[in-house]
């Protein structure tokens, strides 16, 4: 193999090309990305960067010189428009073609937006996915401005925390009965609801958006499911993402909630691989797709290794974090399929951990300002060890003493 092309210069793409060189691959490596910047970290976009505490240079995953030093051709601001599988080449938007022996798709995901019939085409609406979104939003973050946040997932909640810290008046709408419903237990939702309310966020759960209201083409408020209305100067849309399968779909590659890959990151075309937010893969008898830095890095590295002949399957060791106000939430494991939750009071004021079990098996831990619980839980989950739930619930017992 002489020629590796990677499409999508985000977290996964950057990890993949770096891994190829770290493992000694000497052939040609090209990383093509649509965005103007070299690969950067997205997590700070709804945290430190939005807060204005982190300049652009610090967001970059690697210094710009890294790619040159490693003889990686980085083409930023370049969209791939299609894949010619027969001819084994990708076509760029400017008409040029790049041949490949192996191709990786690390195209990430796109934010869901609201339909135009309910005001989704108004001005003053912002998703939180890329630098351009967040840079465009910055001018709205004036003290006293009224921010409407649609969606109570991690991104919506982080944006709410930043906005309220900067002195904006924040209303957050969640259509489901509780915030974080899709990703966490009620105990964790309760914790974050209390946190946001304590910071003055008007948090409304079980409250759908009927439509956004506009004036002169710009959002000025919203009508809610119960017929009431609220005013807003701008709106942040945090209602989830969908995997970006555009290229794979057009090329006839098998899809299943994302680009379907096997345990080694191979798609239905043996010369094409996928990793990160865009890829779904087999895990414990199901097919899952993860939207996290951990998965983007580890799956991309597994794909690089597979390309170079390794046979180790990718088995994720999931972890995630979220920063809201002065709370750091750290999550180890995947809680899917839990049937029991144990709350462990924290070791310090304002801390707590939530432990997810299926029967007696520990699946996941949400730790709020409680890194010990996170790290210990992570170790146990990765080792397949399950401490007795009763022991975990007893804060007078040291975690380490339980197993």
């Amino acid at each position: 193999m002489q020629n590796i092309v990677v499409v999508g210069a985000g977290q996964a793409g950057a990890s993949l090309v770096a891994r190829l060189r770290a493992k000694g691959f000497t052939g040609s490596v090209t990383l093509v990305g649509e965005e103007a910047e070299a690969p950067y970290q997205r997590p700070p976009l709804s945290k430190g960067y939005l807060l204005g505490e982190m300049p652009l240079e610090r967001l970059l995953l690697r210094a710009a010189s890294f790619y040159e030093e490693q003889k990686i051709t980085l083409k930023t601001g370049t969209r791939v428009s299609s894949i010619d599988r027969e001819g084994k080449r990708v076509l760029l938007a400017d008409g040029t073609a790049l041949p490949y022996d192996a191709l990786a798709l690390t195209t990430g995901s796109r934010p869901r937006m609201l339909a135009p019939v309910i005001g989704g085409d108004l001005e003053g609406l912002y998703p939180v996915r890329g630098l351009t979104d967040v840079d465009a939003m910055a001018k709205e973050f004036r003290e006293g401005a009224r921010a409407l946040i649609v969606g109570g997932g991690y991104i919506g909640l982080e944006a709410a925390a930043v906005a309220s810290k900067l002195g904006l008046k924040v209303t957050l709408l969640e259509a489901a009965p509780r915030i974080l419903q899709r990703v966490a237990a009620p105990e964790t939702s309760d914790w974050f609801r209390a946190l946001h309310r304590a910071h003055g966020v008007d948090l409304r759960e079980g409250m759908g958006l009927a439509k956004l209201l506009g004036r002169d083409g710009r959002v000025c408020g919203a009508e809610l499911a119960d017929g009431s209305t609220i005013e807003a100067d701008f709106a942040i849309i945090g209602i989830g993402i969908h995997p970006d399968v555009t290229l794979a779909d057009a090329a006839g590659i098998a899809l299943d909630n994302g680009i379907a890959v096997d345990m080694h990151g191979r798609t239905s075309d043996p010369a094409i691989y996928a990793a990160g937010d865009c890829a779904s893969f087999p895990y414990r008898g199901h097919r899952i797709r993860l939207e996290s830095v951990q998965n983007a890095i580890d799956q991309a590295e597994a794909v690089a290794d597979t390309m170079l002949g390794a046979e180790e399957p990718y088995v994720p060791k999931p972890w995630f974090w979220s920063d809201q106000y002065d709370v750091k939430l750290q999550i180890a494991g995947l809680n899917t399929g839990y049937d029991r939750v144990v709350v462990r009071p924290g070791s310090r004021e304002g801390t707590q951990s939530v432990w997810y079990y299926h029967g007696e098996t520990l699946l996941a831990v949400d730790a709020m300002n409680e890194p010990r619980a996170y790290m210990q839980g992570k170790r146990w989950i990765e080792a397949g060890i399950s401490p007795a739930p009763e022991g975990v619930a007893d804060a007078t017992k040291e975690l380490k003493s339980l197993v």
């Binding site: 770290a22 970290q41 997590p43 700070p44 945290k47 610090r58 970059l60 995953l61 690697r62 210094a63 010189s65 890294f66 030093e69 490693q70 830095v293 951990q294 890095i297 972890w319 974090w321 920063d323 750091k328 750290q330 310090r348 300002n369 890194p371 010990r372 790290m375 210990q376 992570k378 170790r379």
Partner: protein, 106 residues
């Protein structure tokens, strides 16, 4: 600005200037120095930016907060002089700092 010496586990030394306000982790990242993974990008969530600080420096660095202490406890083979480099912010006072990488990060 501080001159910082990063010593890889295999003994390879890198001496670089890191601007004030950056972290010791970012100094390694931006200079392409291997051995510090920093998977979480400095959020104090991964403990893959662990180093051993030269013993002459342990008392000269800003104290660890609770979060760093607890995360370090679970880093790979932590010791007395262990620090998370993403929590060490560079100032002139760090000029001459020497850090050594562990054999691996996790």
């Amino acid at each position: 600005m501080a001159k910082i010496t990063y010593i890889e586990h295999n003994g390879t030394e890198h001496v670089v200037d890191v601007p004030n306000g950056m972290t010791v982790m970012e100094g390694a990242r931006d200079n392409g120095i291997p051995g510090i993974d920093a998977d979480c990008g400095g959020a104090c969530a991964c403990s893959t930016c662990h180093v051993y600080v030269d013993p002459a420096w342990t008392d000269r660095l800003p104290a660890k907060d609770d979060m760093e202490i607890d995360m370090l406890d679970f880093a790979w083979n932590p010791g007395e002089t262990s620090r998370l480099t993403c929590q060490l912010r560079v100032t002139d006072a760090l000029d001459g700092l020497v850090v050594r990488m562990p054999e691996k990060q996790i």
